[in-house]
């Protein structure tokens, strides 16, 4: 695994991004995402996960990968939102799904129940770092797109 270069990872990255695309579209059905936005939300999620995997491979840092991929996800969400006159949340919630630390929160609490405090702490810190990175990226892009708006409605 460690010896693999980025080039050899390409097929794997593509397959996993396809998985993210389809997973986000399926999750859209659970979140009642309107049909007309399904494909766009899937694309946001898939591309975001691709960036996540590439950055994670290069920098070996989950929070860094989450930050950069969320920057892109948030940027794309804002652009789609303007284009389709929809609230940003519609694309954003779906788009950040693959990278949000749901599994880490679960593992943190799971190891707490299992009395494995060290592992629990590790996952807690990871959850906070990744959620913080995503939230900061989203907040940053939000602020950027709100510059120069005349107190209009938030998109």
């Amino acid at each position: 695994m460690v010896s693999q270069g980025l080039l050899q990872m390409i097929p794997q990255i593509l397959i996993r991004s396809l998985g993210a695309f389809l997973a986000v579209m399926s999750f859209g059905l659970i979140l009642e995402l309107p049909k007309k936005y399904l494909f766009h939300a899937g694309a946001v999620g898939g591309l975001g996960w691709m960036v996540y995997l590439i950055v994670e491979r290069c920098s070996r840092s989950g929070p860094m990968a989450a930050f950069l991929s969320s920057l892109m996800v948030a940027g794309m969400s804002h652009i789609f939102a303007r284009q389709k006159k929809a609230p940003v949340t519609v694309f954003l919630v779906a788009g950040i799904l693959p990278s949000v630390p749901g599994a880490s929160i679960y593992r943190c609490v799971y190891y707490m129940i299992r009395n494995a405090e060290m592992l629990s702490n590790d996952y807690l810190v990871e959850t906070l770092k990744i959620a913080g990175a995503i939230a900061m990226a989203v907040f940053f892009i939000d602020s950027l797109f709100r510059l120069g708006q005349d107190h209009g409605k938030p998109m």
Partner: protein, 260 residues
């Protein structure tokens, strides 16, 4: 109903729909504020917490109108956020009258766009494709798909008998854990148990809630941020308890040190 009263009701309804559907606090507050500003010469204010909405329209010459809405069950519904946002946008640009907007919001509040079948597919697809996203092998995806189908049925049944969110999560997570362990023990022996369980609980885990909590906090909505963070932790607790219980039960049934 006077025009002001109707306006306040409309603002409260729009805010309630958005808050229940999981919109960020600042979005709910600005939407309500924009609708209240349609009353000229009056001072409108609103405070939104994650569990309720307070709004008032103050008339310097007379009495103020105040409305409080308590919000209890929340579940993400992007369609309703989108539609409520659209209605308030049209109302503020004058394309809809207040009465029309109010009537449309009443319809939106109950609207569901996907049939139970589509939701079922959603659960199955989410579990299966999350296994793919987590770098699972073919068998992992297959196992996650099967577990996901069961999970969808459990969630459907829980919705039908109106079980509360905490118990639903515990039971659903228990089912996921047990199903994955049984599959590994008796049917698909080369699956990665961890990948399958984590993929199959993805429809339940509170990742988005947790991230929204931090966004609310960064926006200065500290109350809502803390409340959402607690919500995320409680949900995670329910899921972990469910999976943990399923593992203990499995351990008891199979005996020995099968799991750890």
């Amino acid at each position: 109903m006077t025009r002001e009263k109707l306006l306040v009701e409309t603002a409260a309804l729009a805010g309630e729909i958005m808050l229940v559907s999981g919109a960020e606090i600042y979005r709910v507050e600005t939407t309500i504020q924009h609708i209240l500003e349609l009353a000229e010469g009056k001072q409108g204010e609103n405070v939104v917490l994650s569990t309720g909405i307070y709004l008032s329209l103050d008339d310097p010459a007379g009495e103020a109108i105040t409305v409080v809405r308590r919000v209890s069950d929340r579940s993400t519904n992007l369609n309703r956020i989108d539609l409520a946002n659209n209605v308030s946008r049209k109302l503020c640009t004058g394309k809809l009258s207040i009465q029309e907007a109010y009537d449309q919001l009443l319809v939106i509040q109950k609207q569901e766009i996907y049939s139970p079948k589509a939701t079922f597919l959603g659960y199955v697809g989410t579990c299966c494709f999350f296994a793919m996203l987590f770098n699972g092998k073919l068998y992992d995806c297959l196992a996650a798909l099967l577990v996901g189908a069961g999970l969808a049925l459990v969630m459907g049944a829980a919705k039908k008998i109106r079980l509360n969110a905490f118990c639903t999560n515990v039971i659903a997570a228990f089912f996921v854990g047990e199903a994955a362990l049984l599959l590994q023990a008796f049917a698909l022996t080369d699956i990665h148990r961890d990948t399958v369980i984590v993929s199959a609980i993805m429809p339940l885990v509170p990742g988005v809630v947790f991230t929204t909590a931090i966004r609310d906090t960064l926006n200065g909505d500290y109350n809502a941020g803390m409340a959402r963070m607690v919500e995320a932790v409680v949900t995670a607790l329910a899921i972990a308890a469910g999976v943990g219980a399923s593992m203990s039960l499995f351990q008891m049934l199979m005996g020995g040190s099968y799991l750890w």
